[in-house]
């Protein structure tokens, strides 16, 4: 980890990986807001199993970086209580596959205390969880179940695909007055680095990002699938002259309908890429949103390249399960040719 603990006056950016940017976002916000506390399993002395909280325990102490007992419902439930007391908890779920004991706390309480109380109570908290496949992890460590949470009114669901966004979206999530599920694509935790401002900044929880401009087909995606989508876009441009626009949704709930629809009005063709199972995945919501707003622009069926409707296979077969550039590319060409 570079100079986050001792800010340099010479450089205004750090070259960080995505997981280091998460850590930097936590550091930055904890440095300026004493209400922010981090809690979870192995987040303290160990610095997190992916090192997302590395050094925070030493910097801020056991009172603000808390190793809890092994109990996800306890972590989220107590974080709700902490936020009700005026604090700003950031709870870590060690893997998304272990979030389910906390599901009741999230969907029955965190998401709806505001509406239940007619705005009297609110739950400004963040639940961070590494998610997604591709790292040869054991069973239950690779699932992508963002749709469970995007389906729940009252929650925001955020998923960065770059180090810059990871820090800015995390800070915005911590400052947000509503509960945020912050999903970290662990496949690209250390895949690449980019310059990240050392200062505090927010990436708004409202705007999708156009990662590549194009005019023939729009690919909508998020998280770790952004990279194979960009690879596929480059391949079809080079080999077939198909000009693809890639939209990274970044915030999965609420959706940035304007950016989604604007891009479709330009291309008239859409492919949605996610690693979660196809059926009732978030791709269905994106497709319907396009239909509702821009049907007259449509030139081809809206298609999905997604995980299959099966449990995530053990790692020997996970490369067949996850959308690879080749699958995305094949679908882009079919959609372009329709």
């Amino acid at each position: 980890m570079s100079s986050a603990a001792t800010p340099s006056t010479e450089s205004s950016t750090d070259n960080l990986s995505l997981v280091e940017a998460v850590r930097d976002g936590l550091y930055t916000e904890m440095s300026t807001d004493e209400r922010v506390v981090v809690l979870g399993e192995d987040v303290g002395k160990n610095g997190g199993v992916f090192r997302a909280t590395d050094g925070l325990y030493e910097e801020f102490g056991a009172g603000r970086v808390v190793d809890t007992p092994l109990a996800e419902s306890g972590i989220v439930g107590s974080a709700i209580g902490l936020s009700l007391s005026g604090m700003r908890p950031v709870a870590e779920m060690q893997f998304m596959g272990f979030i389910y004991p906390a599901f009741d706390q999230i969907v029955s309480h965190a998401s709806r205390l505001r509406s239940r109380s007619k705005g009297k109570y609110s739950v400004p908290m963040v639940i961070r969880a590494p998610y997604g496949g591709g790292i040869r992890a054991p069973e239950h460590h690779s699932e992508s179940k963002e749709a469970f949470f995007a389906h729940e009114p009252g929650l925001k669901v955020v998923c960065p695909s770059t180090p810059y966004d990871a820090k800015g979206l995390l800070i915005a999530s911590i400052r947000d007055p509503d509960p945020v599920i912050f999903l970290e694509p662990k496949l690209i935790y250390r895949a690449f680095r980019e310059d990240v401002p050392m200062e505090s900044y927010e990436v708004p929880l409202a705007d999708a990002a156009i990662r590549r401009e194009g005019s023939d087909v729009t690919v909508y995606t998020w998280g770790a699938m952004t990279r194979p989508s960009l690879i596929a876009a480059d391949n079809v441009a080079e080999e077939y002259g198909v000009d693809v626009e890639v939209v990274d949704l970044r915030t999965l709930s609420p959706l940035d309908v304007e950016t989604i629809v604007d891009s479709f009005q330009k291309t008239g063709r859409a492919v949605i890429v996610h690693e979660a199972p196809k059926t009732a995945g978030l791709g269905a919501e994106v497709a319907t949103t396009i239909q509702e707003n821009a049907v007259l622009y449509q030139e081809a069926p809206i298609e999905r390249v997604a995980g299959f409707d099966t449990p995530m296979p053990l790692h020997a077969l996970e490369d067949y399960y996850l959308p690879q550039a080749v699958r995305i590319q094949d679908q882009i060409l079919e959609t372009a040719d329709f």
Partner: protein, 382 residues
């Protein structure tokens, strides 16, 4: 059960007495303690138990080595815990059921699974979870503590169907005692008085969180009291004590006397010598010399000393055991490394009958494989 242990257990059942020592039969050097009674096991059974503990230790070393060479993925080591795993499974009858976690490799092996099958999930193949019909072992549980209510439920089902001779033994760790499912499972077990034995492998660490930070209770065994179960603390590094206590708990689960209730919580006090998994680095959060007092009580060394003292084990037999273990491990690794998986397996067994929509997805994948070749699917995205 010896009079001494009976006395200790009655002390255990008093929740105000919380500094009770774990039950032992062997002292730390492997000598039989005064007044302790050695379990009724033949020389052959004792030797076999010793061989399996030694096999477990060598398996652990081999699996860690394979992981470092990139030949298997993440592995959860068990060194220091083999005594409990082997002894508890020796206490089971074939008809009894085992609910293991991702660390109970040796417990599964002793209750009938092959060494090869233990390696397969580590290489990414589900074959290791396809348990043979005559082996009563569940696929390992990874989400913490989720197995307790299920083990209780299976035992409940056996009782409802008049099959209380089929007991259920459920493993979990000290970290699991913080999860809701631990409490719900034990509470149900108490309420419905089911033939189940719950074995807490208290290895002192849940990844980086020490036992003292996991619960403010002085012992884990005392938690049983709140659910109306018997709680027993045992030296989990003493295979003979673990065998005896587990055997007695299973006897009670199946055939309780009028004043006994069936379920038991056993706290097997032990230590995780190594990392939580091969993805973990314990030097970040604990001192290396912390393990030393536990290593002084090592289960393999203690049983070896006992068997040598009794004249059951000598150098010749030890050499035979070592030879057999090397052969078994070599064969298991070869078999596991020769296994392969067909992408069609992704789509199989999701339902009893494959839905049309899933069949279409399978066919689409196969068409793409045909069109682009399998190499196109092996891109490393990272």
């Amino acid at each position: 059960m010896s009079a001494q242990k009976e006395a200790e257990r009655s002390v255990n059942s008093d929740p105000t007495t919380i500094t009770d020592d774990p039950i032992q039969i062997l002292d730390e050097d492997g000598n039989v303690l005064p007044n302790a009674e050695v379990p009724d096991l033949s020389e052959g059974q004792l030797l076999s138990m010793y061989e399996d503990i030694k096999l477990a230790r060598k398996f652990d070393q081999r699996a860690i080595s394979l992981q470092r060479q990139g030949r298997v993925a993440t592995y959860a080591p068990m060194t220091g815990q083999e005594g409990t795993q082997v002894a508890t499974s020796y206490a089971l009858d074939d008809c009894d059921w085992l609910f293991p976690t991702y660390r109970e490799h040796a417990a599964k092996y002793v209750h009938g699974m092959s060494l090869e099958s233990l390696l397969q999930p580590l290489r990414g193949y589900r074959d290791g979870y396809a348990i043979p019909d005559d082996v009563n072992v569940m696929p390992e549980y990874i989400p913490i503590a989720t197995q307790l209510p299920q083990a209780m439920g299976m035992a409940w089902g056996h009782k409802k169907q008049g099959r209380t001779d089929e007991a259920v033994l459920c493993h979990f760790g000290d970290g699991a005692t913080s999860e809701g499912d631990f409490h719900e499972g034990l509470n149900f077990a108490g309420v419905f008085d089911v033939p189940a034995v719950f074995v807490c492998n208290n290895n002192q660490w849940a990844i980086s969180v020490p036992r003292e930070r996991q619960t403010a209770s002085e012992t884990i065994a005392q938690k049983a009291r709140a659910y109306g179960l018997e709680g027993v603390r045992v030296d989990g590094l003493d295979p003979l004590a673990m065998y005896e206590v587990t055997r007695e708990a299973l006897r009670k689960a199946k055939n309780p006397t009028d004043d006994e209730r069936r379920p038991t919580l056993i706290e097997a006090v032990q230590y995780r010598y190594g990392a939580h998994t091969t993805a973990d680095d314990p030097s970040v959060y604990r001192e290396e010399d912390e393990a030393e007092p536990w290593r002084q009580k090592d289960p393999l060394d203690r049983l070896q000393h006992y068997l040598e003292t009794e004249g059951i084990l000598d150098e010749e037999r030890e050499a035979e055991i070592d030879d057999r273990i090397e052969t078994q491990l070599g064969d298991a690794v070869d078999a596991a490394e020769n296994a392969s998986a067909d992408p069609d397996e992704i789509f199989e067994h999701v339902y009893d009958e494959m839905p049309d929509r899933l069949r279409e997805q399978r066919d689409e994948l196969n068409a793409l494989r045909e069109k682009y070749g399998d190499d196109a699917f092996s891109e490393v995205l990272e």
